[in-house]
């Protein structure tokens, strides 16, 4: 008896649902991708503001379970929910192409982190390379120097 035949004898009667899930993810990629990007931004902001998911849920008057779905990037968010998230976190989460943003909106945490990766040595010398050290200082530096930094694709 071959290994394949032996394997077929012991295979679970319950087949994996991966194929259906993968097809579903492919069909819903547009909004899943947006939801994922928003989730990363929310997680970044929670960390930077030292807020928990529970804090956010209380501020938005929703359940912690809902916030957990949001930060997993699997929730099909309505514009209303995105608006509530933006207000609760004090950040801009979506932008419409062609819409002019204020200079402040361009210097968000994520962008400042990327900038800090490049200018860290110039600014801090021996500062730690970990995490978000000196983000605010980076933002101030970038503004003062009027640096233009394009986010990588």
């Amino acid at each position: 008896m071959s290994n394949l035949e032996k394997l077929n004898k012991v295979l679970s009667t319950q087949k994996s649902t991966w194929e259906e899930e993968a097809k579903w993810r492919e069909a819903n990629e547009e909004w899943l991708s947006q939801s994922f990007n928003i989730a990363v931004r929310v997680l970044d902001t929670l960390k930077a503001k030292k807020m928990t998911q529970k804090d956010l849920s209380e501020k938005m008057k929703v359940t912690p379970q809902f916030i957990n779905k949001v930060v997993k990037g699997q929730e099909n968010l309505s514009l209303e929910t995105i608006g509530k998230l933006s207000r609760a976190l004090g950040i801009k989460l979506i932008d419409v192409v062609g819409h002019e943003t204020s200079p402040e909106a361009e210097y968000d945490f994520e962008q400042a982190y990327e900038v800090s990766q490049i200018y860290r040595k110039q600014i801090f010398g021996h500062a730690s390379s970990k995490g978000y050290v000196g983000l605010e200082a980076c933002q101030v530096y970038v503004k003062e120097q009027k640096l233009e930094y394009k986010m990588p694709a």
Binding site: N3, L4, S16, W18, E21, F36, V71, K72, G73
Partner: protein, 177 residues
């Protein structure tokens, strides 16, 4: 502990507990879960920024992982739908240590290999059983607990297969994008 079919009975996967997903599904769920990736890369930020894969920010690493997981999933989906007999073309024998060439090719400006890994035991031509997988940020598997764990899972699975009378198997293989 049991083995479930992923597709065409040629790609199968271990499931370690009744309340757990099979390993193959677990990987694709985790690699597209922003919270899981955020926590993982925060925990392994030193490895991420050690220079082995260049200097990458947490946010870029998270997005890159999702993008690569998607590409890998698409590739496997194509195989599942059309050509399951091509599994041998995507799995290769496990390397406990990444070659130095990985760094060299990066220096030449070539795209480095992905850090996503799916580990599987080859039972015969184009027949694999997935034992696990992970995000590998270091050169060797023994360097970190989460990669060492994958080697221990392999030993456990090999013993399980032997108990079922499935022997004469190849060693551990890995799928890298």
């Amino acid at each position: 502990m049991e083995i479930v079919s992923i597709f065409a009975d040629q790609l199968t996967s271990f499931r370690y507990g009744n309340d757990q997903p099979n390993e193959f599904s677990r990987l694709f769920n985790q690699w597209q879960d922003s919270e899981f990736l955020y926590d993982f890369f925060t925990q392994h930020i030193d490895d991420l920024q050690s220079g082995f894969f260049g200097t990458i920010s947490l946010q870029t690493a998270i997005r890159q992982t999702r993008d690569e997981a998607r590409r890998l999933e698409q590739k496997l989906l194509q195989l599942a739908i059309g050509k399951p007999d091509n599994l041998d073309s995507i799995f290769e024998p496990l390397r406990l240590e990444e070659p130095i060439e990985l760094t060299r090719s990066k220096a030449k400006g070539e795209k480095p290999k992905s850090w996503l890994r799916i580990y599987a035991i080859k039972l015969e031509a184009n027949v694999y059983v997935v034992t696990g997988g992970t995000i590998k940020l270091t050169r060797s598997m023994q360097e970190r607990e989460h990669t060492s764990l994958e080697l221990r899972k392999f030993e456990r699975c090999k013993a399980y297969l032997r108990e079922l009378g499935i022997s004469d198997i190849d060693g551990l293989t890995e799928l890298i994008l």
